[in-house]
């Protein structure tokens, strides 16, 4: 692997640049700052899963004292758009309106009231009279696909839906080689179908937007978003106003995980402000967050693997059916990623087919969620690999070794299947999976404990393992830019459109700048995510920030370094090429030094004056995957069916970890989210399409008592195309827990769980089935 250079600031577990403000409770979140005269906006949700609004009478509500503005489909722009905050043109269909005379899920937006207080707004919602014509709802994937199913998007003006008459949002079908020939040539074939549930991101801060007019009459949206620039563009489109009249500011936000890659509330807040001239506040309650924000796409995915007796894969077939809910946000791309982020991992298979559809239902709306389809795809893929290992009599680790992609290799899937369209060819330039497997197996005690069915009372222990990958941004689509300008004390302003959701991206991007400019981290002053002040960045999704935004920052810093050396060159009497930066100074070959402060003072005040500053952009040519080996030890209670994860080991290759503490934190958070997804988290939905458990009491996300002994090992590589050798690490961790725990359960009690979450009921039922059989 290429040599890792010596770093000074990169590779250190620096404190987060925003940490002190957060730990002292400074008013840094959207809801923490209010102007006088603010209106409170509440939303009326549909009580029906599928209905047409015959009439809506808001006169009583409007007459209530303190009610200032009521919005419905009758007085708002009808522009079709997507709420998915993706690059333009978005690969999601334009199937949503701000308000509409049709509702498509329980909680779908019917009206909004802006009032002097929240209590008045809530009271006014109750005074809105709506006459509905109920339509037959579509409440499952199978329901959506049957002949004669009700058509959920029967409107004329939607665009980009694959086959609206059949409730199909998107369709993907790609082929490499000849899978049937591959299966014919296989000695062993296994096939498995797995289903994943409706699950929620559950950020501790629900969606919230605050809007106001600045002194020049421009609309300012302070919003809890992962995509400030997409939010600006989509709000302008939806409201029919110029982009230049909108400014989006993302302050600190309380977690996102994909749900804040949606433009959900900005249009309502903005329109209230434009109509009334007053500041407006819209925040979802926890219940609304569960019912009417976004979820992970539930999927049914079938995987068929064919291998020779040598354990080398000959063919892989994956068929995915994805439930996108009532609107098609991310429908195509999440579906495609179920294949594109999984299948290249096993590039030894010459014959690969991926096909599938995303369908509409009258159920909660799915969207982007950390892992983005890959999580759903890895469940059956890694389950099938475990089955294949057993059938072949090969250790599961060894089976992965014989099939996983390596440095210098490629997969035709990279080129065939991209972000809802063709992908981009790439050769793997960094991959430490071998060491990840070795270290992980050793830490979990694979050789000693696997297959031993250790008993502890009624509990049986088992070990499982998987390997997974993700990407680093969307190649040739994502774009990030960074601006750096110098101040006369030798500090620098770093202006980035990149969006820190709590991930620490402000910090790691500052570390990259500090490294190039040879200054301590506190000399880099970060301003991020303000569409007026910072250059464009697509935002925080697709594991793009470290790799894509990081490269933009590195390039901007290198340009600034070049300007600094030019200025110093005249003073130090040496060519710019011979100079270097060290310890906040320019150093000449003879050892003469000029401080950065003096360089900037000269540029500002003394000679050939100019602002030392530069902007640089990055559109990545490829998307190097982070690789992860997962190992889990579980205990399965044979009397109750309860599964406890005792020990989880994650050995991950993310290239150089710009900040190891923050990189570990990304892994730990993603894995624990994944364990919740595997064991306890499930949105329960009634036979009429209503979410039955819309609270953090009834929807169980892991707490401090639920977390196993969790070991994350950063197995460093050097990614030559990445900033400072880095790859991204934001998502990959969440792909591991479901199949790893499923495989460990099988090792313990010999049953395959193919439906998440692995609740005691499901585990017991599966055990009974095996006993009966």
């Amino acid at each position: 692997m290429p040599e890792r250079p010596e770093f000074t600031v990169v590779g250190k577990g620096e404190r987060k640049v925003d940490g002190r403000a957060l730990v002292t409770g400074k008013p840094v979140f959207v809801a923490d700052v209010r102007l006088p005269d603010t209106l409170h906006v509440k939303l009326l949700g549909s009580p029906h899963a599928h209905a047409r609004i015959l009439s809506i009478d808001t006169s009583e509500a409007e007459a209530m004292p303190g009610v200032v503005c009521v919005l419905t489909h009758e007085n708002t722009p009808p522009t079709r758009h997507t709420t998915a905050g993706q690059g333009y043109p978005e690969p999601s269909p334009y199937d949503a309106r701000m308000f509409e005379d049709k509702v498509r899920f329980v909680g779908d937006r019917v009206a909004a009231v802006a009032a002097e207080t929240e209590e008045i707004a809530l009271a006014a919602l109750k005074a809105i009279r709506v006459e509905y014509e109920e339509l037959e709802p579509v409440l499952s994937i199978d329901d959506a696909r049957r002949d004669g199913a009700p058509v959920i998007h029967d409107e004329e003006d939607s665009a980009g839906i694959y086959d609206a008459d059949r409730n199909v949002v998107a369709d993907v079908d790609i082929d490499v080689g000849d899978v049937s020939a591959g299966f014919d040539a296989s000695d062993v074939i296994v096939e498995t179908t797995c289903e994943t549930q409706y699950a929620q991101h559950a950020p501790i801060e629900p969606h919230v937007v605050y809007s106001y007019l600045d002194n020049n009459g421009r609309l300012v949206l302070r919003t809890s978003t992962q995509v400030p620039f997409h939010a600006r563009r989509i709000v302008a489109q939806t409201l029919g106003i110029p982009i230049r009249s909108v400014r989006v500011i993302k302050p600190r936000i309380g977690g996102g995980f994909g749900t804040k890659q949606e433009v959900l509330l900005e249009d309502v807040a903005g329109l209230v402000t434009l109509r009334t001239g007053r500041p407006a506040w819209v925040g979802l309650s926890r219940k609304e967050e569960f019912v009417a924000s976004r979820t992970r796409h539930p999927m049914r995915v079938r995987v068929r693997l064919g291998a020779g007796s040598d354990g080398v894969l000959r063919a892989i077939e994956m068929e995915a059916v994805s439930n996108t809910g009532a609107y098609g946000a991310h429908g195509l791309t999440v579906l495609a990623n179920a294949g594109s982020k999984t299948l290249p991992l096993y590039n030894k298979a010459p014959n690969v087919r991926f096909y599938g559809q995303a369908v509409y239902t009258n159920l909660p709306v799915a969207g982007a969620y950390r892992g983005y389809g890959a999580t759903q795809g890895y469940f059956p893929l890694e389950t099938a690999m475990d089955e294949l290992a057993e059938r072949l009599g090969i250790d599961p680790i060894e089976l992965r070794r014989r099939n996983h992609v390596r440095v210098g290799e490629t997969s035709p899937i990279f080129e065939k299947l991209g972000e809802g369209r063709e992908g981009v060819e790439q050769t793997i330039k960094s991959c430490e999976l071998e060491r990840c497997l070795e270290i992980g197996a050793e830490r979990i005690g694979w050789a000693e404990k696997r297959g031993k069915k250790l008993r502890d009372g009624p509990r049986v222990h088992g070990l499982g393992m998987t390997i997974v990958m993700q990407g680093s941004g969307i190649p040739r689509i994502d774009m990030a830019a960074a601006t750096i300008k110098m101040n006369e004390d030798g500090s620098f302003n770093l202006l980035i459109g990149a969006t820190d959701l709590g991930t620490g991206s402000d910090t790691i991007l500052a570390q990259i700048a500090a490294e190039v400019l040879a200054v301590p981290l506190d000399r880099i002053l970060v301003t991020s995510s303000d569409t007026d002040l910072t250059p464009f960045d697509v935002g925080a999704y697709a594991s793009s920030t470290t790799y894509v935004s990081g490269t933009a920052v590195q390039r901007a810093a290198e340009k600034v370094r070049g300007q600094i050396l030019e200025v110093a060159s005249a003073v130090l009497g040496a060519s710019a090429e011979s100079l270097r930066l060290a310890d906040e100074s320019v150093v000449a070959p003879g050892g003469e030094r000029m401080s950065l402060a003096d360089v900037c003072l000269r540029a500002m005040y003394e000679s050939d004056q100019f602002q030392i500053a530069a902007t640089a952009s990055c559109v990545p040519a490829e998307s190097p995957p982070p690789f992860l080996a997962n190992f889990a030890e579980v205990a399965v209670d044979t009397e109750t069916g309860r599964v406890e994860v005792l020990h989880y080991v994650a050995a991950v290759d993310c290239g150089v970890a710009i900040n190891p503490i923050l990189a570990e934190g990304q892994m730990e958070g993603a894995i624990v989210n994944g364990i919740g997804y595997a064991l306890t988290e499930e949105m329960l939905i009634s036979s009429r399409g209503r979410v039955r458990n819309p609270s953090l009491f009834d929807y169980k996300i892991p707490g401090a008592l639920d977390v196993p002994r969790l070991e994350v090992i950063l197995v460093e590589s050097y990614e030559p195309t990445g900033p400072m050798g880095a790859k991204s690490i934001g998502e990959v961790g969440i792909n591991g827990p479901i199949p790893t725990i499923a495989n460990a359960i099988y090792d313990a009690v010999g049953v395959r769980l193919r439906e998440t979450p692995f609740t005691p009921e499901r585990v017991l039922a599966a055990m009974r089935e095996v006993t009966v059989a």
Binding site: G13, R15, K16, D18, G19, R20, A21, L22, V23, T24, G25, K26, P27, V28, F29, A31, D32, H201, A202, P203, I204, E205, P206, R252, I253, G254, G255, F257, S285, R286, L501, G502, T503, G504, I661, L662, E664, G665, M667, E668, G669, A670, I671, V672, N673, S695, L696, F697, I701, P702, G703, A704, L705, V707, L710, V712
Partner: protein, 158 residues
């Protein structure tokens, strides 16, 4: 009605609505470190010390705080110096988005005031009412261990 309480060491008189929550009163008084995540006592983001014990302030009537001493995360700093728990959260990487952090820190301060040498299990139990979706708790648990060690060694008035 009017109540008098001490918030972060300052006596405050406040007019409250019947049924008003302590969390809403505190935010109205400008203590934005009190976060709202569920208004149902499930997430712990609004935790404050009420007469020295951590409570979810969304589940406490403001009226109940009449005559009480309330400490929010803003009140932990002493003469510009952070509380050892705050320092430890910064050093260990116990903060990601920071929305759960104030409540988490309050729970940890409460624990260490009662139990200066907690086991890992006791720390987990003390933090179990504070949900965090970012960190996976690993570094938060470690931060409390670090703070406990620092407080034993250094001596603070927490």
């Amino acid at each position: 009605m009017t109540i008098t309480l001490t918030i972060n060491g300052r006596r405050t008189t406040a007019t409250i609505e019947p049924g008003e929550r302590l969390s809403d009163l505190l935010r109205r008084e400008g203590f934005m470190g009190v976060k709202i995540g569920c208004r149902a006592g499930d997430c712990g983001a609004c935790a404050v010390l009420l007469d020295g014990r951590a409570v979810n302030s969304c589940l406490v009537f403001a009226a109940k705080a009449d005559g009480a001493e309330v400490v929010t995360v803003e009140g932990l700093e002493r003469e510009g110096r952070l509380h050892p728990v705050q320092e430890a959260f910064l050093d260990e990487g116990g903060i990601q988005c920071g929305y759960c952090t104030p409540g988490m820190v309050i729970s940890a301060v409460d624990l260490l005031s009662r139990n200066p040498d907690p086991t890992e299990g006791e720390i987990r139990r003390a933090l179990s009412g504070n949900l965090c979706r970012c960190t996976g708790y690993v570094k938060q648990i470690r931060a409390v261990q670090r703070a406990a060690a620092a407080m034993k060694g250094g001596g603070t008035d927490a």
